[in-house]
Each structure stands twice: as structure tokens, then as C-alpha cells.
Symmetry: C2
Subunit: 413 residues, 2 copies
């Protein structure tokens, strides 16, 4: 049987029936439903030459051994957020299954090809995303902190993962999985509106945005809404409001591809009869270029200091989290572009706003690229997440072409 | 003993010791501490000709009968918010005690003079302020709703007030207390910064602001902070931010005395990785002039519709509460101004942003005026609330002068 992309769509629907409900996908990592999905996945490669193993971080590997140990990796994650969509993560895995089945039918390949189902990409239960891929990439360095994490029911992370055979102290032993890899490919839904707005089914991902994430605290003076004249107020909300609006011209100034988001403001005392004394504002800034990201941050800090002065407030910045931009491999980007052109006649290069396991693999030095397929209305992390079946099939074809091109290039190298 | 204003300051300190703690005043209405304060207050007029009674709404009345039943009323409230200040409410009552003692020593007056300690001005326990004064004024019309109110411990309002001898069904019988009143006087700390900023000890209050209080809901679209380009966002926070800033030029445009406050914004989902889908914004607008208040509201609504269009949002307004402006009596304002000039050489006329029991009495048709004494730093409803002792003494003198002038005017009328 040659590559059969329609089978991938059928299998995605089968997985939805098996592990979802009326609220959406429920394959949260380190739960019974997740384990059920992994077992179901094993069945999809039963009867082939593909060998299965699970590494020390809980990643599920499917290996089609070739004449050489040098390995092409294809990755995805079958875990989802609670009430998630039917495609986020598992499309990648099932498209990889289809590619592996096609290759397995053709006999022993000259190079090894491996599919990995990364453990806990979403971090939905313990707030720690990219668990399995960061362990395999060797970048996991927060074990001491992870040891203390608990889920909403008070179960600790070490206990929860031990129930699935993972020992946190040994998770970094998964690093050996990447030793022979010469390339890593990942397909994902875009989770944004760009491809749909351009009426394109597929795009090549240039890399993942660097992120600066801060909590900004504005401090003024609580005062009675009735007895305090306008010109004597120190209104903390005014600082937050000005910055919430100013991040837009700042993003425009730094240029295309910059995104800045004030995802929330908490006001205290937050009552109708008092001027706001304290406003805590969340800010998330992203760019694919490290210099531009630094400029976004510099401009926002400068604006906040100006607003603090104008409004007679104190302003304080605290970094919540940051990550540098991660650029994918230039040659793989070109091959991916070719593959997309071959199956869809047209392509587009775009950055990824969200992080993906691919970023961890790229950080480990493995040449990496991702393909995006169009998301309808840009929605994700909701049961409303969707992609047209014909686009899903094109995506499987593009991933297969890309895998084939990368294998051929490596053989002739 | 003639009028002795320093005694009032001593008695305020005594009350603070008796009913406060390290966190401030604790005379919340319908509690044991409040009952203790009321009993202590009775003692301050023991041994005079003053008669005491408590009406059907729990208001405590001290009556110095005159040759005529026609009565001058002086009012205040001994209840406080939890962790309140040492002056809010009880200054008024104790200044009235001093005036009554001065008059009682002079023998039977030609007119009756009555001091009232209103029950539950603050509404701290059940969220219903001006309880006793609205019952006496006949404007209380929410008994059915009050019957269902509970405090933080689940005690119902009817049960709590019954423990202090008040039957909610009979509260409106307190209306007869106002039958013979020809004027009502109330002294209060300003609870705002105006007099302090002008370096004035005392001012005459023109009336209480009308209030428009609304909850404004902005609805956009949640979207991933990383994958959603700036120009495709529908950010509900942008609408709330624009309005939080726009209410300031709107207040300036409507003119001096207008105040507009956005006391809080609640953002949903309120997480760092998502554009804000829903922002719920509180708005409080106040003015002494009904037309200007309507104009404030009209301008804010118009601006919100403009912002909704600019930002591709839905906006919805819901009135939380409103009250019309209440103007005090013009002749009493002139007499109050004279009294303040006599004791402090200078005076000032200003509106009251906060509501007071005086507003209820004025609404009932009794000619009413209030005196304000300076608040340090404009602070109130906190243990930091303070007024200089010399200003407190001037306030007692001004109230006494005003009472005397009103009595003399009434006799010669």
C-alpha cells in the first residue's frame, strides 16, 4: 500500500472517538486516557518492521532500522490540553505513522527512520511544557523545582510520572536518543490565522519566536471615587491602560512579525468606589529576531517609565520567563519549501509564535524544520480547533515528500 | 459649663480606646461593639434634661424638649466600617452631644432640639448603607430584598437587626420622627483632599453628588499571544483601556466638580498567552448637577461605542446603581457659611462626593445642610484617618454657632 493520506484523517477521527468527549480531546499527559492513546498508537504500527521503546523521559519511540544507524527523526505529541482540539499534536504523530508505514513496506531503508511521540508537550497538568523533548535535548534543568510541583488534586509530579514508569532523576538519560539523529521534522497545525488569511494550505516554519514574559506592577494611591478630584489622583489603572495601548505602536515600530500582548490586568482594590491603587499587568512579547525582541522590551520599559512619571505612579518589572528565538535549519527550510510547492503548488515561510518540541531538538543542535498546515479561524486549544480534511491530506503528503528528500540528500552526502 | 470643644476631642479618644483596636475602629452596626458604643453615648447625656428613645429602625434619639414641638435635628452615626477611622460618623454625634449639653444648661429652649445617632450608615455588614436614615426619611423600599441579605457568616439581616430590637417590617414607622423637624444639620470629616489642599479647616457642603454606576462589558476574541498577528486581533482590553483614559478628558469637558472613576477591570481568560476575550469594567461618575451627570454618562457611552467600532469589539452597559444629586438648603448654606467665617475667618463651599445620612433627610423635604472639617491626606475608612485636634474644636464651635443661628431664625420667623 503506497502512502494513503486519507487513512491519517480516518485515524485522527478514530482517536477523537476513543479519547475525547463532548468538551473535546482529553489526552492530558500522565493520565489513563493518555496511556490509552499511546497503546492505541502502538497498534497502528503492529505487524511492520518498526520496533517500539519508551525512553527514560516517557517518550515513545518507533524505529525503522536502516542499514545505517544514522537516523531521521519525525516527531509529535499525542497529549492534549483538557478540552483540547482533535489535531494539536496528534496530527504530527499520525502523519509520521503513515510515513513510517510507507517506508517499512519498501523494505530495509539505507538510513534509520524514527518517529517519536514526545511526553507531555502541553504541560497541562503540572504547568511544565516540553517535558519529554527538553529531557531528550538535555536542556531540562529544573528537576529540583519539578519535584515540588503538584496538580490541582495535590498529586506531585514525581508520583504522577512514576505511575507511567518515569523516574524524574533519570529523565535526562533520554539524551542518548538524539545521538545518531541527522535531522528532525515536525508537522503541526498553525494555531494562528496567517495561512487561512492568505488562502494557503501549508507553510514552512522559519523558527520559533523568542519570548519575553513580564509581570508589571503599577502602584498609585487608593482614593474615594466621590471625594477625590480628578487632578489629585494617582490611578494605577491609567499606567496599565496606557501601556496596553502603547505596545501596539511599539510592535509596529519594531516591524513585521513582532507581537506584544497584555493578556490580563488585575486591579486592587478593584471596587467601584475607589481609584485603583495597584494594577498588575501581564506582558508577553515575541519576535523571531533576538535584537528585535530586545528592542520590543526596551521600548516597552521606556514607555512604562514615561507613563509612571506622567501619572505619578511607581512601576516595577519582574521577568516571568524568557527564551531566545530558535531558528530552524536553512537547508531543511529550502527542502520543506520544495516539498510544499510540489504538493500544493504554492508555499509560504512564516515564524511560529507558539513553542514546539522542535525548538528543543533544534536547541540540541539537530538540524530541524517544521511544516504548518492551515488552522480554520486560527483556533486551537479548544474543541472548535479544525482543519479541512483535504488540507490534512496535503500535509501528510508534504511531510512524506520532505522525509524522502532529506533521506536522499543524506545518502548522497 | 459653656461649650467646651476640647471635651469632644477627649471623648472621641475615649471612644477609640473603648471600641477600637490596633487595626482601627470596629463599631460595625448590629454588633456587640456597636451596642457598647451606643450605651457609652447614652452616658454622655445622663444627668441632663435630655430624653432618650430608640425608634423602629434602630436610630437612637436624644431630645431636649422645648416650649414648641418644632424641632431642630442634628445627626451623625456612631457605626464604622471594620478597621475604620476614629472620626467618620462619631465626630458628628459627639459634636451634637456638646451642643445639646450647652443648650440643656441654658434651661428649656423655646424650640425642641434633637440629636440622632443613625443606625447603620455604613452598611458594612450587609452592604446596605443609610439604613436608619432611609427608613426615617421614608425612602427605604427594598425590604423584600433586604430580607434575603446575609453577612459573611450567613446570618440574615432580619435576624441580625432583631438581636438589636429592630423588626424590618416596622422600620418605616420611624418616619414619624421627622414630622416636626424644621431643619437638619450634620457635621462630617471631608474624607477628601480639597480643604487640606486649600489650607482651610472648614467648609459648607452644597449637596451630595448624583451618581451613575455601570458595569461595562467588552467582548473580543481570545487568541494565542504568539500566533495571532497584531492587525487581526480583537482585544477586549483595548476597549477598557481607551475608556479608562477617556473618562478624564470627559470629566474635564463637563467641568469642575465632575469625577469619573474606573475602579476596576476584570480580564478573561486573563492569562499571559492569550489576547483578552472579555473585559468587565466598573465605571462610577458623579456630579452635583443632574444635567452634567447625564452629560458625563452620554459622553462615556458615545466614546465606548466609538472604541468598540475602532477595535471590532462588542460593548454592553449595565447600570449597577444610580442616585440623583441632592442639593442642600440655600438659606442654611448661607447660615453655615456665616458660622464658619465667624469661627475660622474664612470658608469654602464644596460638594460632597460620598453620600451621607443628610442626603436622605434632604430627600424627605427637611431643609438640610452639612459642614465639612478638613481630613488629613484625604484618607478615610482606614485607621490612618485623621484631623488636627484644633480643627476638630473649630468644627464643634461652627456646628454650635450654626445651631444657634438656625434656632434664632426659626424663633423670629
Amino acid at each position: 500500500m503506497p502512502l494513503t493520506p486519507s487513512r491519517t484523517v480516518e485515524e485522527l477521527r478514530e482517536l477523537r472517538e476513543l479519547t475525547g468527549n463532548d468538551d473535546g480531546a482529553q489526552r492530558v499527559a500522565w493520565t489513563d486516557t493518555w496511556a490509552k492513546a499511546k497503546k492505541w498508537l502502538s497498534g497502528k504500527l503492529a505487524g511492520t518492521e518498526v520496533e517500539e521503546e519508551t525512553d527514560e523521559a516517557g517518550n515513545q519511540w518507533f524505529t525503522l532500522r536502516g542499514a545505517s544507524d544514522r537516523a531521521l527523526l519525525i516527531g509529535g505529541h499525542i497529549d492534549s490540553v483538557p478540552n483540547g482540539g482533535w489535531l494539536d499534536g496528534c496530527l504530527n504523530v499520525l502523519a509520521g505513522v503513515e510515513v513510517l508505514r510507507r517506508l517499512a513496506e519498501e523494505g530495509e531503508p539505507p538510513l534509520t527512520v524514527r518517529l517519536v511521540n514526545w511526553a507531555d508537550e502541553e504541560g497541562a497538568r503540572f504547568g511544565r511544557s516540553l517535558f519529554g523533548s527538553s529531557a531528550a535535548a538535555g536542556s531540562m534543568s529544573d528537576q529540583d523545582e519539578l519535584r515540588l510541583r503538584k496538580d490541582a488534586d495535590g498529586v506531585t509530579l514525581p508520583d504522577a510520572i512514576a505511575a507511567h514508569g518515569v523516574d524524574l532523576d533519570r529523565a535526562l538519560d533520554a539524551r542518548k536518543q538524539l545521538e545518531n539523529a541527522f535531522a528532525y521534522l515536525e508537522l503541526h497545525i498553525e494555531q494562528g490565522p496567517v495561512l487561512e488569511s492568505m488562502d494557503l494550505p501549508l507553510g514552512v516554519v522559519l523558527g520559533t519566536f523568542g519570548v519575553e514574559r513580564h509581570l508589571i506592577t503599577w502602584r498609585g494611591q487608593a482614593a474615594h471615587a466621590g471625594s477625590t478630584p480628578m487632578d489629585t489622583r494617582r490611578d494605577a489603572l491609567a499606567g496599565a491602560a496606557k501601556l496596553a495601548l502603547e505596545i501596539r505602536p511599539i510592535a509596529a515600530q519594531v516591524g513585521a512579525g513582532a507581537v506584544c500582548t497584555s493578556g490580563g490586568v488585575v486591579t486592587k482594590p478593584g471596587i467601584v468606589t475607589s481609584v485603583v491603587e495597584t494594577a498588575e499587568q501581564l506582558l508577553d512579547q515575541r519576535h523571531l529576531d533576538a535584537g528585535s525582541l530586545a528592542e520590543l522590551l526596551r521600548l516597552a520599559k521606556g514607555a512604562s517609565e514615561r507613563f509612571a512619571q506622567e501619572e505619578d505612579l511607581e512601576v516595577e518589572w519582574a521577568r516571568i520567563w524568557s527564551i531566545e528565538p530558535i531558528l530552524f535549519d536553512a537547508e531543511l527550510i529550502d527542502l520543506a519549501d520544495e516539498s510544499i510547492h510540489e504538493v500544493a503548488s504554492t508555499s509560504h515561510r512564516l515564524p511560529s509564535g507558539p513553542l514546539h518540541d522542535a525548538a528543543e531538538v533544534a536547541r540540541a543542535g539537530i538540524p530541524t524544520v517544521m511544516l504548518f498546515v492551515q488552522s480554520l479561524r486560527g483556533l486551537s486549544h479548544t474543541k472548535l480547533e479544525d482543519t479541512k480534511p483535504e488540507h490534512l491530506e496535503l500535509a501528510v503528503q508534504a511531510l512524506d515528500r520532505l522525509a524522502q528528500k532529506v533521506l536522499e540528500r543524506e545518502r548522497s552526502a
